[in-house]
Symmetry: C2
DNA sequence: GCTAAAGTCTACCGAACAGATAGAGTTAAG
DNA sequence: CTTAACTCTATCTGTTCGGTAGACTTTAGC
């Protein structure tokens, strides 16, 4: 399960992308039904990672710093929730050896979850905020190409 | 990330499948490097779900109740860690509406994670304990068929 | 410059969960 | 009837999740 916080982060970015302009925290919170003070923390974090930009004072607000076509779901999830990999020994951003696993290369479990991680990244690192907003993405299923595995 | 507990559960089942016979808790714990008392709870739970069988008293121990070809990773993970779906509104075993999501059908986030869930299930519900033990599975990559997405 | 309205920063908090550990109870073989 | 196994329930410590609080800083406009 992804965290509530990550869901809020994605929604906030979607709101900013849709608006295409600066928005105040309170406005984003209201539109997306997010606790305002909690959203503050989230946006601050997104700012630290160069995803959004902010203006202080009256007429302040947040806007996207990167174009929405460049912001992937994977990027946001890694910032908020940490690694996408289901095992620490499969993480690219925070590799840690499983302390109780003797031989990583022959670990039966690792092999299986490596495939899970791969296909999760396949989706999350290719899907952008802009994709989510575009009408073509709203079709029930993407038609062919990289997504055919979804039909297996 | 899957929990340590789930990892232990899978390892214990692998040990039982490999042995092909009854094993005492202490023996499984020793072979797989699992805290013994913790493993007790895990095996009890697997028993409640009809995965394993136990004998008490001297000469007691645990053995598989289902053939290892029928025990999937998905099954074990759902027992120990709960839903595989990354959002409650995408879970098949424990569906819950996202309380802060107005229109489920048009939720942009849900669409994306539905694809993630689908491909995770694709791997986890098809891979069995027996698969993990078989030599062919030990090849670096499965060759073709359902797994070609792993190369994208 | 003062004030109102916006973002910034740090701390805290209650509930739940993770990863165990403890120990008394039950069963069965020899 | 003792020993060695599984069974059950409780407890514990530390961390994370989801959120709240409040003091502080910046800026626009009068």
């Amino acid at each position: 399960m992804i965290s509530q916080k990550a869901k809020y982060a994605l929604r906030a970015l979607l709101a900013l992308a849709k608006e295409g302009d600066s928005l105040m925290i309170g406005e984003i919170a209201a539109r997306k039904n997010i606790p305002r003070k909690f959203l503050e923390q989230i946006l601050l974090e997104m700012k630290r990672h160069g995803i959004v930009h902010s203006r202080r004072g009256k007429l302040g607000g947040y806007s996207l710093l990167m174009p929405p076509e460049k912001i992937t779901y994977g990027q946001v999830l890694r910032i908020i929730d940490g690694p996408i990999a289901p095992l620490p020994c499969l993480s690219r951003i925070a590799y840690r050896r499983c302390p109780d696993c003797k031989t990583e290369e022959t670990c039966e479990i690792r092999r299986v979850f490596a495939r899970v991680a791969e296909s999760a990244r396949e989706v999350l690192d290719r899907t952008t905020i802009a994709d989510s907003l575009s009408a073509s993405f709203l079709l029930d299923e993407p038609e062919g190409g990289a997504h055919e595995m979804a039909h297996l």
